[in-house]
Symmetry: C2
Subunit: 353 residues, 2 copies
């Protein structure tokens, strides 16, 4: 089963679910169309990484091919609605203008408000609508998961993981925000945020959930999680590097946006740990400065390179990726799942998007 075919099944499940909700929503009010369009635009993008890990967790634990078991496509695709919710709310919280190279949801609604010449502040309307859109996606993700039609007992076990990952990602986001606000974080505290906000949420828990849905043994679950957590950390570290050094055309975000948002990533913590007092002052001054110029971004980049933080971060990525590969090599999983999980490890940590 090719990655393209799996993506097609995931997309199909997602679209089918949203299409089933559409008439009910429009019966409440025809004015709800903009909410649905914003959702459609949001779901059109994305790499479907979480559903893919969920599916391969399922296969690794002996679950049937996606063509034979449509239920897993539905359960896996529900993670994309959860992710949509996180992205929309995250963009409001970070006041991000773009997402995947297009205007963020709150900016879309803000633009509608402005074009229509409605009352009140356009920005507030945009944020309010985006908060509601995120709520809708969060509510629907659980509804979709439960509608998978999988057997009750594995569904209950998978649902426990689903519940856990929701709590973890919300708590991780809060800790991330706190880290930026406090500003005095270490590599260790930054890594804790990475673990809950990203590593578990993006890779470990989707795999874990897929395995539970297939009725996996505790050994298989443990083996997959031993692969998933370090890979998830490597994935986020790669994302942090791309957020500072990546090509805007590939990342879909303006260059240096992570720096302007004041994100306290592991990369930044590594740089501050190694910086001279003068360099540290420059980093502290530039970080979170929403008006940081291209020159300012370039200066921070130089410091991150000169201090050796970039090399240290790349070495961490290699180390965590190797740990994931070793865990996969030691795991007792079917050959095609092993191959797919190996490919996903490469894709999740690649130097370009």
């Amino acid at each position: 089963m090719s990655a393209g075919r799996i993506r097609k099944e995931i997309d199909h499940a997602l679209l089918t679910f949203v299409d089933r909700q559409r008439p009910g929503m429009l019966a409440i009010g025809d004015d709800l169309r903009p909410l649905l369009s914003a959702l459609d635009a949001l779901l059109a993008g994305g790499k479907r990484l979480r559903p893919a890990f969920c599916y391969w967790g399922w296969r690794a634990a002996g679950g049937e091919d996606i063509a034979a078991a449509r239920g897993i496509a539905v359960a896996a695709a529900s993670l994309e609605l959860l992710q949509a919710s996180a992205l929309v709310h995250d963009d409001v919280m970070d006041a991000s203008d773009t997402r995947r190279g297009r205007p963020s949801a709150h900016r879309r609604f803000e633009a509608v408000h402005r074009e229509q010449g409605w009352r009140g502040a356009s920005a507030s309307f945009g944020e309010g609508a985006a908060i509601l859109l995120g709520d809708l996606c969060l509510a629907w993700s659980a509804e979709m998961f439960d509608a998978s039609g999988l057997d009750p007992e594995p569904l209950r076990r998978g649902r426990e993981v689903f519940d856990l990952m929701r709590t973890e990602v919300i708590c991780g986001q809060y800790l991330d925000m706190l880290e930026s606000a406090r500003g005095a974080g270490s590599v260790e505290t930054a890594l804790n945020v990475v673990e809950f906000k990203s590593a578990k949420y993006t890779i470990e828990r989707p795999l874990h959930m897929g395995a539970e849905l297939a009725g996996a043994t505790p050994e298989t679950v443990a083996a997959l999680r031993a692969y998933g957590l370090p890979l998830g950390i490597a994935f986020q570290l790669r994302d942090d590097v791309l957020g500072v050094f990546g090509d805007p055309a590939e990342t879909g975000k303006p260059a240096g946006d992570d720096l302007r948002e004041g994100k306290r990533t592991v990369l930044v913590a590594l740089a501050l740990e190694r910086a001279t007092p003068a360099q540290a002052e420059t980093v502290e001054r530039g970080l979170g400065d929403t008006a940081l110029t291209a020159d300012g971004v370039a200066e921070l980049r130089s410091i991150i390179e000169e201090t050796g933080a970039l090399d240290a971060c790349e070495a961490m990525i290699d180390r965590y990726t190797a740990r994931a590969r070793d865990a996969l090599a030691a795991a007792a999983v079917a050959p095609d799942a092993r191959e797919a999980l190996g490919d996903l490890a490469v894709a999740a940590t690649a130097r370009s998007v």
Copy 2:
């Protein structure tokens, strides 16, 4: 079973659930305490109206007493987490300073940020934290509902209603926001918002859900809904009147706050329908003016009274309440449920809070 005893069971179920989540959250990070404190503060208040209607829907359909069937207390109490989510997000969207007479969640977090002298804008931190707190409550409400331990088939039927009411209330909130932004609404469009944002969400669906959880017949469900929808409309119309004419000491909100927020209630729509051009201009000018003085509020109140809008709104409340009472009289429900639902109808539409 007294109302006080039912409330105690609901509170117990709510606290038990949150207490079970506490250690897991603190294991993610001790810094998550403020999220938990904000949630505790939020759940300490409130009239538990939705759980009460859910419970009496259950009893009306033949469900056992709460002391004998703890599962219904859990399912009913989960609606309080859903409501907590709606309140926290609503307060962010409306930039409300207070909730139930205490600082709103985003203002609490904002104050912490300011006191600690953290980086960035305190207001943004407060909003971000409140968005996450609301997300947590939304996620947990479904988790709590599913953990009720009720039988799978009625639980599935109840869950369908739960899912529906979440979509309805989110859509209703969007339409409400749209109504305020557009400003040119009618009594009819305002009533549509009331139906989905409030009447179904507060009364009809909780009753409906409780009845389904007890395995109600379609006839019982229909009878309860025929009572719940008009009562829910009357409840919201009463709330709208209190939002303009209520005693701040009782409503927990500053006098005239609904006017400053620019809420396009049925009461306001009735006033605009009846107003002279000069009166209409005054209303349109004052509505949504966050700096509206006490004199300004008093002027709008006078117009609402002089135009006859207040009397018309009171007449509507009486009409909808009577319709609910008639539906209840015609419904085949157990005597104690009939009595409790009659009492709840009085409480939900009383002239003081």
